[in-house]
Each structure stands twice: as structure tokens, then as C-alpha cells.
Symmetry: C2
């Protein structure tokens, strides 16, 4: 079996490559080869598998065709310009997130072998106002160009699946937490920062009140969602290929309580509460919780609780022990 | 004020041109000129207004720019390949309904004068299963390429409006009934046929049980929706520019009872019940009723009842009296 991964140089892409290399199989079928694509050269940590890497703009003429020429059995389409960049650069966002996705789907349609396609959508397809808990049949009304582009990608994936050009699953991922690496300027960055920095013995800023509720998934569970989507029976999805995924819906206060249980009061003492009205206003426009009933019924498993999310970070990123 | 109409040669387009010519104004502002576009030459019945007609493929390079070069204050984007054709010809549907719409929106963005854009979407954005009455916040899950293309058009219109590139309103029109002209092969054709043909003294076939419920709007009320959308205050729409419009939700039995009230038992006697399981199955996948609360609150007015729909047909198409 061959697997194509776009966005392979990203955080989730790299973890996915490493995991596929370790497993050597997916859904009970041996993996022969990986085809990796990104705008920067992916750095494959896949010693045991044959790896082809391709670099460039997916929307450029011939780029998607060159990838699909490998006739992958499974396509993980992770590539995309992130939310802030798509908002700052209208044309770039549409080129990468819409034209790139469409070019990939069209290349797959032309190839004619109807692979499984797992597409990372986002909860950014939702826009305020919404209910306290968003049900699976709530309408997506994005308030960003990124969310709009993800919604269009979902719509195309649905139609191409209905036509049997491919066999698609679109995953609306919760916010990934604890996101490894350095702090970034994303408005959501503090959700990870207030856990990651204290565990590394560093101070972290909390810009919003502790009552703020948000839904999280660990990188480990995000990887589990991708692998499950790649191997699942898609017949029960019918014409509705987009799934809002389950996560851990908690308040910031509950996040901090979990940090104290896992790493003690010294870790919590490293959090500085510095209210930021701008961040507060942005976060107020984000959804808080989801029922995610359909995805749960289809076997997508969230982290057990926020303690488990913190422990996954310690095990996967810190070698099993906090650095402080 | 200048007004651009795409799809100007279609049934609604022609009625819109005639109405604008008669009114000479829209929303209290005098109309100076009309720019009409279609794939076939529009036949303007607009004696009193300056009319420019352009013919061709809206998705062709430069076509949309040539239209928008007239700097219309209002754009009615009615053009599109219909449902059956978009389903039969995948590439044509995407070219006209997606690429054509995107080309128009991009030309408007480049022009920079942010006109009002009224886009005819469709209840085809909805796909079974759905509740008996569809609320305004129910998720669109199209089961046709046409519905997918309309949904993508709505998403683009929302994002371009949010960015202030234009000031958009997307109208999810109910089924138009009584549709004038000859019977066509659309699966929904009988909803109009069982009224139109008996009023003209012709026999009509009813292929579904009388219990089937569907929501209708007269061509007259559809025109009213377009004019209201062109002149309304869009501020209350916020980021949600797509409106499910109100109509008359009735069973076929209620349609027939209305026909008897308006035109007598002789008209009803011209309906032949010939069950067609194929049509029955198609219709079973269609939505039945909508709350359309938002659109009603924003001043969009449905026909009073199905009797009014029949009377509008008699007045507007039959010179005030049934032909039988």
C-alpha cells in the first residue's frame, strides 16, 4: 500500500510519518511506500519505508498530478495555509487552501482509482453565534477566510465521494493541545502555553479569564483520528463526509487544576494572569463544546480528560518527565 | 444607478428585466442602465432603459471583467447550469456554477466599488435526512453537484461580504410554482404541471401520492424576493448572508383543493394519477417545509396561500382568466 501525505513537513505531518514508519502497516495492510509533499522539503524520519519527497506549490500546474501519479491508496491531505496567514493574505489563502485542494481532488478524479482521502478540516467552519454545545447538524458559518476555505474543501470532498471519484473523510479537528514547540502568536496559543511552558520550568501568560471554555485534543489523539479515518468503513457516513471530532471540553480553570494534579503547585505558580481584552474578544467568538455524537459512534476516541492530555505531552515530548 | 443581471435570458431573468423597466427605479433610486448577460442573447423587453447585452461563458478569461467594467451598483447573479445538467455533466456544472461565480466575484473584488450582489442559491443545498420542518440553523448537506456548487457560492459570497469586497445576499429559493411555459423533464415539474396544464385545458400527470408535502413560491414572489434583497439593509445579516426564504408549504392534496376553489372541479378532473416510483423516490429526498424565520423577520414575504399562487399565475401568465 502507498500513502500520500500533503503538508508532511508540518507538526501533525511529521508525527504521522514517524508513526506510519513505526507501525509499517495501516488498517492491517502493509505500507510499501510514502509520498511526502510540502512547500518546504519534508524531513522524513521513516527509515524503514521507501519515501519519495516532492516540494512545491500544490496548486501549480502538474504538481498534484505528479503526486497522484504514484497512485496512492490513501491520501492524507493536511496541507494548508493557517488561519492567520489566510486572513492576512487573501489571495494566498484561496490559492493554497482552495485551488490546491481542488487541484488535488481533480488529479485524483483524473487518475480514476478512487483512493481514501482524509482531509483535515477545522472547527473554524463554525462562527458565532452558536449554542453552548454545538450539535452535529448545526450549520457551519465561518467568520474567517480559512474557515470558508475548509468548508468549501468539505463540500468538494462530499461531492467527489458521492460521485465515487474518491472515498473521503473530512475531520474537523478540535484545537490541538498541548502543541509542542515554541510559543507562537496564534490567539489560541495560550491554551497550550499555560501547560507547556510551566512543564518546561518557564513562565506562561494567561490572557483570558479562567471561566473560558474550549475543546482540546492532544497531538496523540489527532494522530489517532487520522489513522482511524484512513481505515474506517465509510459506508455509515452516507453523503455526510465531514465529522466534528470529539475532544476534551474544559474551562481554563479545569486545565490549571489538571496541571496541578499532574505536575504540582510549583508548575501552576509559573502562570501569570495578564488579561488581554483583544485576545478575550477573539476567543469569545470561538465555539466552546461539541456533542460530536456521530464521530464518537463511528469510533473516534477523544482523550479521557485533560490530565491525560498533559500526560501525553510529558510522555511524547518530554521523555516521560516534566523538565522543571 | 446601473444594474447587472447574469442569466438574464432565463425565466426569472426575463421577468426581472421587464419589472425593472416598468418600475424605472429600485429602492427609491432611478435606474439609468441595465447590463444583461447570458450564454444566449438576452431579449430585453426594456424599452425605457439603456440596455447593454453581452453573451458568452462567464468563466472565460475577461468575461466577468467586461461585465463589471460597467461598475454596476447592483448585481443580480442568476446565471447557472440547472440541477439535472450539472449532475449529468460534472465538468460543465463546476465550470459554470463554481468557476463562473468565482470569476464574477473576483472581478468585483478587483473593481473595488463593492456593489450589492444578490445571488440565487437553492434549497438544493439541503439533503436528506432532515427534520419535517428545517430550521434556519440546520446544516446544508447537498446531495447533488448543483447543490454543492450553490453552497460553495454562498460560502464565497459570505467571505467576500465579510471582507467588504461586495455586499452580498444569497437567496435559497423554494421551488418556483406555477412555472410558466411548457412541461419539462425536471422531477419537480409535476408540482407546476398539475396546476398549469388544467388551467390551460390540458391533461396533467400526478406521479406521487397526494400526501407529498413541498414548499412553493410563485414567480411573482420570487421577483419580490430579488427586489427586496437588492434594496434591504444588510447590516442585520451579519456574517450570515444566506437566507432560506419563506414559501407556501402544502401537500399535493392541498394544491389540488386550491385548484378546485380557484378553477372548479372540471380543472381538477384533468389530473391523471399515474404513480411513478422513480419520481416518488427522488421527491422523498427533498425537504418539505422550512421555518424561514430569519427571512420573514427581514421582510421577505411569501405568497399568502396556494390559492394566491394559482391566482398569480392566472393574472401574470393567462391574462386574468384560465384558458379552459
Amino acid at each position: 500500500m502507498k500513502i500520500l501525505i500533503t503538508g508532511a513537513a508540518g507538526m501533525i505531518g511529521r508525527k504521522l510519518v514517524a508513526r506510519l514508519d513505526r507501525d509499517g502497516a495501516l488498517g492491517g495492510r502493509a505500507i510499501e511506500a510514502l509520498v511526502l509533499h510540502d512547500i518546504v522539503a519534508p524531513d522524513p524520519e521513516a527509515g524503514g519505508l521507501a519515501v519519495t519527497t516532492l516540494t512545491g506549490d500544490l496548486a501549480a500546474p502538474g504538481a498534484a498530478e505528479a503526486l497522484v501519479a504514484h497512485r496512492p491508496d490513501i491520501v492524507f491531505h493536511l496541507a494548508g495555509v493557517v488561519s492567520g496567514e489566510a486572513e492576512a493574505n487573501f489571495e494566498l489563502g484561496y490559492r493554497v487552501n482552495l485551488d490546491g485542494t481542488r487541484a488535488l481532488l481533480e488529479a485524483i478524479r483524473a487518475a480514476g482509482h478512487a483512493p481514501r482521502v482524509v482531509f483535515t478540516s477545522s472547527i473554524a467552519v463554525f462562527g458565532a453565534p452558536f449554542p453552548e454545545v454545538i450539535p452535529d447538524d448545526f450549520h457551519p458559518t465561518p467568520l474567517t477566510s480559512y474557515g470558508t476555505q475548509k468548508l468549501i474543501g468539505e463540500a468538494l470532498l462530499n461531492d467527489y465521494s458521492r460521485r465515487d471519484f474518491l472515498d473521503g473523510v473530512a475531520l474537523r479537528l478540535p484545537t490541538i493541545c498541548v502543541r509542542p514547540g515554541k510559543p507562537n502568536k496564534a490567539a489560541s496559543g495560550f491554551f497550550s502555553g499555560i501547560i507547556r511552558e510551566p512543564l518546561a520550568g518557564q513562565r506562561a501568560v494567561l490572557p483570558v479569564p479562567r471561566e473560558v471554555v474550549h475543546t482540546h485534543a492532544s497531538p496523540r489523539s489527532a494522530l489517532g483520528f487520522l489513522l482511524h479515518a484512513a481505515a474506517m468503513d465509510t459506508a455509515p457516513l452516507g453523503g455526510r463526509r465531514a465529522l466534528t471530532l470529539p475532544g476534551v471540553g474544559v474551562s481554563v480553570a479545569e486545565q490549571i487544576a489538571a496541571l496541578e494534579r499532574v505536575a504540582g503547585p510549583d508548575a501552576v505558580a509559573l502562570i501569570d494572569e495578564v488579561p488581554d481584552p483583544t485576545v478575550r474578544a477573539i476567543v469569545a467568538g470561538w465555539p466552546t463544546r461539541f456533542t460530536a455524537t456521530r464521530a464518537r459512534d463511528l469510533g473516534f476516541e477523544a482523550d479521557a480528560d485533560f490530565d491525560a492530555i498533559i500526560r501525553a505531552h510529558i510522555e511524547d515530548e518530554l521523555g516521560g518527565a516534566p523538565g522543571n
